[in-house]
């Protein structure tokens, strides 16, 4: 069997030698931090205009992650391109000829890219948190407060999982364009719209992004939102189940179909 460390090294070379890696990950960080900071500043300025309920359930930690709605899209693009360019370039054939063991190939690639996404996600999460708190003024919280550290680390995990989920989907669909065409509107529009429609919400709260993002909330009914029927870790668990399903689907497609 192929040597796993060797394949990991090879996949690391692949990831670091394409320009898309840098621009997607830098975008994820910059967009998330900048937008989170902007919304935090806005919240501070308009705090008095919030309803009493919203003020009572104000969640400074969650507010400082507001930019993830946009920033996660860059993570989606990163995840999709890591796998999708193998197919669009035709490199997949050369890659599989070099590492014919499908599981070794796929999971090494995903491990390397996910580790990178996770590292960038963690840095993003902490930066967004500190920037947000600095701008929230008297409404801020600290890392030491109850559950805050869990939420900030959770933000990093969330970004890594979004990237990994995208890799799984791209392996199933074998095309960057198709994957982006489905994932970007899904996360940015469909999921966001359905979660605010009362009836659809009961389903939408089990979507990977909606369930997973609960880990970033410190106040369960933050800003007057409904309390989900699962806790923060339960939500992350639901997201992990989605990721596992995407990985399994991707692996089966890679194993069964012609390259």
């Amino acid at each position: 069997m192929a040597s796993v460390p060797a394949v990991l090294q090879s996949e690391w070379t692949k990831v670091r030698t394409v320009s898309s890696t840098v621009w997607t990950l830098v975008s994820a960080l910059v967009v998330t931090v900048a937008m989170s900071a902007g919304i935090s500043a806005l919240m501070k300025a308009t705090f008095d205009e919030l309803s009493e309920l919203e003020q009572a359930t104000f969640d400074p930690t969650f507010v400082s992650f507001s930019g993830m709605i946009l920033g996660q899209l860059a993570m989606v693009v990163f995840g999709v391109l890591v796998v999708g360019t193998e197919y669009s370039s035709g490199m997949i054939r050369t890659s599989l000829a070099a590492v014919p063991q499908r599981a070794t190939f796929l999971f090494s690639k995903m491990a390397v890219a996910t580790a990178l996404a996770l590292a960038v996600g963690m840095v993003t999460s902490f930066l967004a948190f500190f920037a947000g708190q600095a701008l929230l003024g008297e409404h801020r919280t600290t890392l030491g407060a109850d559950n805050v550290l869990r939420a900030v680390i959770g933000g990093g995990l969330y970004m890594g999982l979004i990237a990994l989920f995208s890799m799984g989907v791209a392996t199933m669909l074998r095309s960057s364009i198709l994957s982006l065409g489905i994932l970007v509107p899904f996360f940015f529009l469909v999921s966001q719209i359905l979660i605010s429609v009362p009836k659809a919400k009961t389903v939408a709260q089990y979507f990977p992004d909606q369930a997973g993002s609960k880990i970033m909330q410190v106040v369960p009914d933050a800003l007057g939102s409904d309390v989900a029927p699962y806790g923060p870790w339960g939500g992350l668990g639901i997201m992990c189940a989605w990721v596992a399903a995407a990985l399994l689907g991707g692996y089966l497609v890679l194993k069964k179909r012609d390259a």
């Binding site: 692949k14 898309s20 599989l96 000829a97």
Partner: protein, 353 residues
């Protein structure tokens, strides 16, 4: 050594490869020949375990490709033109990724880049490469692991004459080192210059598995070219002897089924004046076209335009101009097989005569 056994591939209703069984042996260049769409690339992809066979097996030195730990050290492959590398990565980095996965040192990457003449552009993104440069990059990737078995899918595609010359010599040299070389082409003339052994397929079926020398012996049509002022008499005499003659213009007759000596003696017996008498051999390209005529999938003209030894009356089964069951696209290869056998029989019966 590569062994194929009953290898078959269906794409939906289309049978791309049909029960192929043959062995590619070390130490020689084995040419893999067939017209466009014959199934060469599909067969090669199955050899690399990229496509799953519908049935049948491929073994590399007795093992399945998927069981090879570091396959680049066993078997190197140039896949179908250019589409096999990431264009956004430099040539060097593309090869480095492959090398690392099979624990091949980075120094070898520089070595093969040098060997194919791409050192100057090693750090350039490969999407700017010309067809020929991409082909060289693909060849470099095949050589990366210094493998015992090398497979090239249409390697001369896109190469300039100097490049063609280079790849020919490279293949011969690699074979001389005792390696197994398997190279596909749809050009008989190219194969005649490089291959020692030939495997010919048409519509996915094996048509011939023979040494190059035997193929030339078997398949190139030999005939006698003759010119005589007494054309009518010649024709009468030939007819009486049961020999077929084809008029080739400007008073030239082409005679099948007899040697120049026999014709000369025949003419002497009948006191016929000859202005020209010579033994001729049709080109290999012509032989190949004849062989695959009925299995050509995408032809510009109707098949059967090529001159065929015209012993069978036109329209008889086996004459390439008259497929036995026109309009049954499902079975042309079967028809072909029959006409091929027919021609073989004719050829050998002629030899015996």
């Amino acid at each position: 050594m590569i062994e194929l056994e009953g290898l078959t591939k269906h794409f939906g209703a289309k049978v791309a490869v049909d029960h192929l069984s043959f062995t590619v042996r070390p130490g020689v260049v084995t040419g893999f020949l067939g017209p466009n769409g014959a199934g060469k690339s599909t067969t090669m992809r199955m050899m690399l375990d990229l496509d799953n066979p519908t049935s049948g097996t491929v073994r590399i030195d007795g093992r399945h490709y998927r069981d090879l730990a570091e396959p680049l050290k066993y078997i190197g492959a140039l896949l179908e033109a250019s589409k096999a590398m990431h264009g956004g990565r430099s040539a060097y980095n593309n090869l480095l990724c492959l090398a690392q996965s099979n624990r091949i040192p980075a120094s070898r990457v520089r070595e093969v880049l040098d060997l194919v003449g791409l050192t100057a552009v090693a750090r350039k993104k490969s999407k700017g490469f010309s067809l020929g440069m991409n082909q060289r990059l693909g060849i470099a990737s095949a050589l990366l692991g210094d493998p015992e078995i090398l497979m090239f899918d249409e390697p001369v595609n896109g190469l300039d004459p100097e490049g063609i010359h280079w790849i020919r010599n490279l293949m011969k040299q690699l074979a001389a080192e005792g390696r197994t070389i398997f190279v596909s082409s749809h050009l008989m003339s190219e194969m005649a210059l490089t291959a020692d052994h030939l495997i010919v397929i048409g519509q996915g079926k094996l048509l011939a598995d023979t040494s190059m020398a035997d193929f030339i012996q078997e398949n190139s049509r030999s005939y006698v070219r003759m010119r005589s002022p007494q054309r009518e008499r010649v024709l009468d005499v030939l007819r009486a002897e049961g020999l077929a003659a084809v008029e080739a213009g400007s008073g030239v007759l082409e005679i099948d089924g007899a040697t120049a000596e026999q014709i000369g003696e025949l003419a002497a017996r009948h006191q016929i004046t000859l202005h020209e008498l010579s033994a001729q051999r049709a080109s290999l390209e012509e032989a190949f076209m004849q062989m695959t005529a009925a299995s050509v999938e995408y032809h510009a003209h109707a098949a059967g335009e090529h001159k065929v030894p015209a012993k069978a009356p036109p329209g008889a089964p086996g004459a390439p101009g008259a497929p036995d069951q026109p309009g049954q696209p499902g079975q042309p290869a079967v028809q072909w097989g029959r006409s091929y056998e027919e021609r073989r029989r004719r050829r050998s019966s002629r030899k015996g005569a």
